[in-house]
């Protein structure tokens, strides 16, 4: 059922554009062109984060930290393999996609870990990144409770993600 959603939406969009007498082809090409800029901006971060992730895992730091946090996170139902995901998500969206891709490679894209990881990646955003970038045109430097609330809300989504993927 869910496999129909994306293709149907694309068809509906192109038909709507046609009815509105817009040039869907030209618009698509123009939009796709902007992907250059986006990837140019994010590429250096992806490299930096991927290198750090590899070092983090190869040095054994990841295992050490995971064993440290394991009791607390296992208690709320987050498996040890997803701990790096939960830790990096608040800092970087690209970083969490990098961790997610590692999970796909190691455990298969249809495994429970891959699904739960996908839901965590899809249901939260890089809190510290957003707090730095979104406020860049404002004078705000004191965030008060906003960041603790954001972190807590994201922990909730990670817990729900791990629980829900066991059922659905």
């Amino acid at each position: 059922m869910s496999s129909y959603i994306i293709p149907s939406l694309i068809i509906a969009l192109v038909v709507y554009s046609f009815v509105k007498k817009k040039n869907a082809y030209n618009d698509f090409v123009f939009g796709a062109k902007t992907s250059f800029d986006l990837i140019l901006i994010s590429f250096p971060y992806i490299v930096a984060i991927f290198i750090a992730i590899e070092v983090f895992e190869a040095s054994g730091l990841s295992d050490y930290l995971a064993s440290l946090l394991k009791p607390a996170l296992n208690l709320v139902g987050i498996p040890s393999e997803l701990i790096p995901m939960v830790l990096i998500k608040p800092f970087s969206g690209c970083g969490s996609l990098a961790v997610l891709e590692n999970i796909f490679i190691n455990y298969g894209a249809d495994s429970y870990l891959a699904r739960a990881g996908s839901v965590i990646a899809g249901s939260s955003e890089a809190i510290f990144y957003v707090s730095a970038v979104y406020f860049s045109k404002t004078k705000v430097t004191k965030f008060g409770l906003a960041i603790p609330i954001a972190l807590f809300a994201n922990l909730i989504s990670a817990i729900v993600a791990c629980a829900i993927c066991k059922i659905i």
């Binding site: 959603i5 986006l38 991927f50 290198i51 070092v55 190869a58 054994g60 796909f104 906003a146 909730i156």
Partner: protein, 191 residues
């Protein structure tokens, strides 16, 4: 992120110097290699979704969605000028469609529109911030595409779980901001 990256590089490479020095540089290289592979995948995903998003923009569909979102914005963010409201609506729409990166420019402009010139965050800004980081998504397009590229047989089966997980975190965030309104009074008093 700065400090964490520096700490991982120093401590991690430091440990490897003693445990597995010969593998250290290979580890860094493999990181960079994987980064290129992921960037190529992301690039193809962005090309598709940014292309489609442009069609949405040109048909004016985003403004229609923005109009539908208007009462929700009034309830959550409160009164603000139309221009800011439009930025917020475009930002919310991009987020709902799973285009977190495309949401950034409108997010910055929306936040600037809510700015009261104080160094303390206002309730409205905190709410807009929370809405962005709890990431309510109808279709998590980037993750679905990445999963499909890794040979998933049903990459779409995370749509419903993602919706449920992000609804839970969004509601948690909204309720907490509303409850903690007093904590933001330093920023709010300038309004």
């Amino acid at each position: 992120m700065n400090l964490i990256w520096i700490a991982i590089m120093i401590v991690g490479l430091g440990i490897m110097l003693f445990t597995n020095a010969s593998a250290a540089f290979a580890t860094i290289l493999s990181g960079s290699e994987k980064a290129i592979a992921l960037s190529l995948k992301l690039w193809s995903i962005y090309a598709i979704w940014l292309g489609l998003l442009k069609i949405v923009e040109e048909t004016g569909l985003d403004k229609k969605i923005a109009k539908c979102l208007s009462p929700i914005i009034n309830f959550l963010i409160g009164k603000t000028d139309d221009k800011t409201k439009n930025f917020i609506a475009i930002n919310m729409t991009s987020n709902l469609l799973g285009m977190g990166n495309a949401a950034t420019p409108s997010g910055i402009d929306g936040m600037a529109g809510l700015d009261k010139g104080s160094k303390y965050i206002t309730t409205a800004m905190a709410m807009f911030f929370i809405l962005n980081v709890t990431n309510l998504q109808l279709i998590p397009t980037t993750v679905i595409s990445l999963r499909a590229m890794h040979g998933s047989t049903n990459a779409n089966d995370i749509i419903l779980p993602t919706l449920i997980a992000s609804i839970s975190s969004t509601l948690t965030g909204i309720i907490l901001v509303k409850l903690c309104k007093k904590m933001f009074k330093k920023g709010d008093k300038n309004e």
